[in-house]
Amino acid sequence: MPEQSYIRVAAPRQRIFFISIGVAFLFLFLLSRLWYLQVIQSEKLKTMSENNRLRFVPVASSRGVLLDRNGKVLVDNSPSFSLALIPQDVRDKDALLEKLATILGLDRRELQEKWEKGKGRAKYFPIIVAAGLSRDQLEFFEENSLWLPGIDIEMKPIRQYPHGTLAAHLFGYLGEITEGELGRTEFAEYNPGDYVGKSGVERSWESYLHGDDGGRQIEVDARGRFLRTISETAPTVGHSIMLTIDEGLQKTTEKALGDKAAAAVVMDVNNGEILAFASNPTFDPALFTGRMPVDTWKGYLEDKRHPLENKALKGQYPPGSTFKIVTALDGLEEGLIDEHTSVNCSGEYTLGKNTFRCWEKKGHGKVDLKRALKESCDVYFYQLGERLGVDKIAAYARQFGLGETLGVGLENEKSGLIPTAAWKEKRFGKKWYRGETLPVSIGQGYVLTTPIQLASMMATVANEGTVYRPHLVKKVVDRDGRTIKEFAPEVLRRTRFSAEQFRLVKEGLLAVVNEPRGTGAGARLYEVKVAGKTGTSQVVKMRDGKGDIPYQYRDHALFVAFAPYDKPEVAVAVVIEHGEHGGGAAAPVAGSILRHYFESKGGIKKPVRGAGIEVDDADGGQPAEKSQGE
């Protein structure tokens, strides 16, 4: 082909037009793709870009501590290390879980379950799969984190109990938040894996104790390296709760109860503050935050003495003869008796076809109010009760707050039971028989009270008529020591009894502890005048208490007291399940509690050597009393 300069043949004119069209299509192609990404997919990609650069690092808060009334630490926190997985960094989930299960010696399914539970949230949010790592495990994970992509060690403060099982029922225990709880509005801010109070103060005061987890939102670059903190919410440490209880007194109280199934409450009679609150046997609250050994758990459940039950608050016992205080005041108020009114006790009292026996089979002979209280004569109160009628007894009992919850501030407080004719009608559809009133007048029959109610009742007797709300929390303090909330004594009601009526009854109660033939000599302190009342309440009706009665059928032993007699400060209620005799089993316990109280106040000198309760020689040998219905 001959070369030809500047040919005009087939100039690319038409083709240039087509090329322009082609270019237009290419640009439209680019634009439509841009539209797809920047408009249609925009939201999704925006989220991805956010996730790209933002990481959330949770910072665990610590729970508020529990203090005793003097500011001594009762429950605090110590660091615990947990193994967490960060979903977005986990490459091969199954292989990782398998490996971790082997390393931790746990069931793979357990880890899987935790993973599934936590997976719903953001991919960068750590899921805790194992808590409470040992030092060895911690070291292992720190050294090998490179080979286990996606793992992370989280430090979390957990509850520590420097006093072991002390006041376990009062403090309560913590547990991992359940799915049901997570659904409730009060737990809206909580995350799976968080610990919440499951019982006691931990539960009732959860909203104060719980600190808010903080977190840092950090920006990272393409390699996940920290660049800067975008926003930071510092964890807020939970508020501390200063309880009304006294650490030393609490310890003494628990020690005095020994290994018996029992409860004791000590209360300040002038403001309702609970100074000691014990329920025996107890449990170890620390086990609930870690891994509870199966045997221990089974042991708790199978123990007939019910270690997990808060007996001081939820144990409902017939008050037995301690209820005679109420009956006596009722009689005085109604004008049915005065201090000289006397009754002849032959050892039994007959009403219609039924015979009601006094615990003293020989009979007390001629008894007036003081002696009836001191020696706990049943016949005196049978007669009085019969004249009062059940509804009057109930009305007066309610003035003490018996038969109703006092609003102590713990969950599931029990109300006890003060029967009335209407109650029976409603409950059983049967009318009330006069004969049923007689056991009620000595605190048997249908009557049920809780130890805390008994302590409150005794406090009211001591302060002559004011029913304070028993309470456990003195104040709520924030981490800087500022008081958030303080609890002033709250008067629930005032009884209608006069000072004179109280004086008469209190004289009887003083005699119970301090005079010959008094049933409560076991609580006697020589330096301080103690007034009290014993009670022995039937668990089952027994024809005769001879021979060995199986433990679970033995009578409960009760003792209520206050001291000092002249200027009352403190009231005590002690219930010993199946302790048989109020005077023998419960009174000495109350005695040692009161001894500690006054010793620590400097009111009495400490005994030289183990001189605990050597005072009851005069009456110690004698079985205290035992009331028998029908």
């Binding site: 087939a10 083709r15 270019v23 793709r33 841009l34 990609l45 650069r53 393409a222």
Partner: protein
């Protein structure tokens, strides 16, 4: 010496268009490199130098009569081809590729001038040969040889991006010349075995990965597929209006690779959104149409084909770069003309513009 007609007929509009794009580019480089710790002159400032140097080069190339190129075409072709061979023999290797020749005073990347030289050579070759019925297969033999030698040498470096550009630009010139439908069919048939052989024996592992990752970016989200995903996230998260200047999180936090060079458009679209992208694309489209109009108005076949070639070179850079950034094409290292940071690309593109200006300015001369 300078013809007065050069001044009166000078195509100021084209120059202004280029300056506008370059200005946006500089601004974008400023943002893209804002997170860098640079010792010495910042990238944006250096880019301004490059734009200025490019402008001078463009005006200089404009002042030269492009017909000189027609006479020198084969000499230029031969010279750059020798340089390409030399690159493979004694070139400087960096990051697994041997692309640079150390010429003492500066390093040269011969594949860049080859982009222009192949255009000149093709224009020269086709200018004197009319194909009234379009190119037949046998008539393609010589042009394919002319194209194949440099293309294979460039791919050997390896520089897939430049090789593809060279192939596409040459192909576009051939389209402008005219190609028979039967030739298309044969070529299409040939792609299957050539593609297979190329995949098996020619492409490097990383190039294969790029292609595979393009087809399935989730294949390796942390390594080679990473750039693609991050770039898509950047573009998409810009949304309609963008995150604002200096506020693109993807770029400011350096999730984007090569964000001031090849992925500069990604930074731009994150910060300026679809609206910004649309405006930029319109600018580019006008530039391309302008180039094609110059080809259209040119009265000689060499000039016309030269203009088509230069315009095609710019156009394919734009389409491939943007297409790669938004996930339409595999990641091949192709810069966005006048926009990406870098002197090499700027020089090549500006020389191209100089040639266009030269053709435009002299349109009435012949």
């Amino acid at each position: 010496m300078i013809d007065r007609r050069l001044v009166t007929n000078f195509d100021w509009k084209l120059l202004i268009m280029i300056l506008l794009i370059a200005a946006v580019g500089v601004m974008n480089i400023y943002s893209a490199s804002a997170s860098y710790k640079v010792v010495g002159t910042p990238y944006a400032v250096k880019q301004i130098y490059w734009v200025a140097a490019g402008m001078i080069l463009a005006v200089l190339s404009c002042s030269i009569d492009y017909h000189l190129l027609e006479d020198l075409a084969y000499w230029l072709y031969g010279g750059v081809l020798v340089l390409l061979v030399l690159v493979l023999a004694v070139g400087r290797t960096s990051m697994g590729a041997t692309r640079w020749l150390n010429l003492g005073l500066f390093t040269l990347q011969p594949s860049e001038p080859m982009k222009i030289v192949i255009i000149v050579t093709f224009a020269r070759y086709f200018a004197r040969r009319p194909y009234p019925d379009g190119l037949s297969l046998s008539e393609l033999a010589v042009p394919l040889l002319i194209l194949g030698l440099p293309a294979l040498l460039i791919m050997k470096q390896p520089d897939l991006g430049t090789a593809i550009i060279v192939l596409l630009v040459a192909g576009t010139i051939m389209l402008a010349v005219g190609v028979r439908w039967s030739t298309f069919a044969y070529l299409l048939l040939a792609t299957v075995p050539v593609g297979y052989l190329g995949w098996q024996f020619y492409l490097r592992e990383y190039q294969k990965n790029r292609i595979l990752n393009f087809l399935n970016p989730e294949r390796d989200p942390l390594r080679s597929g990473y750039h693609l995903i991050q770039s898509k996230i950047a573009v998409g998260s810009g949304g309609l209006a963008g995150k604002g200047f200096l506020h693109g999180t993807q770029s400011q936090l350096r999730f984007l690779p090569e964000q001031h060079t090849d992925f500069a458009f990604s930074v731009f679209s994150e910060e300026w959104g679809f609206i910004g992208c649309l405006l930029l694309l319109v600018l580019y489209f006008l530039l391309i149409l302008w180039g094609l109009a110059i080809a259209d108005r040119c009265n000689d076949r060499f000039g016309s084909l030269l203009a088509v070639g230069v315009t095609a070179m710019l156009c394919w850079h734009i389409v491939i770069n943007i297409g790669m950034v938004i996930g339409l094409f595999p990641v091949v290292g192709v810069p966005l003309p006048f926009f990406s940071y870098g002197g090499t690309s700027m020089v090549t593109s500006m020389i191209g513009i100089g040639i266009l200006l030269s053709i435009r300015t002299r349109r009435f001369m012949f």
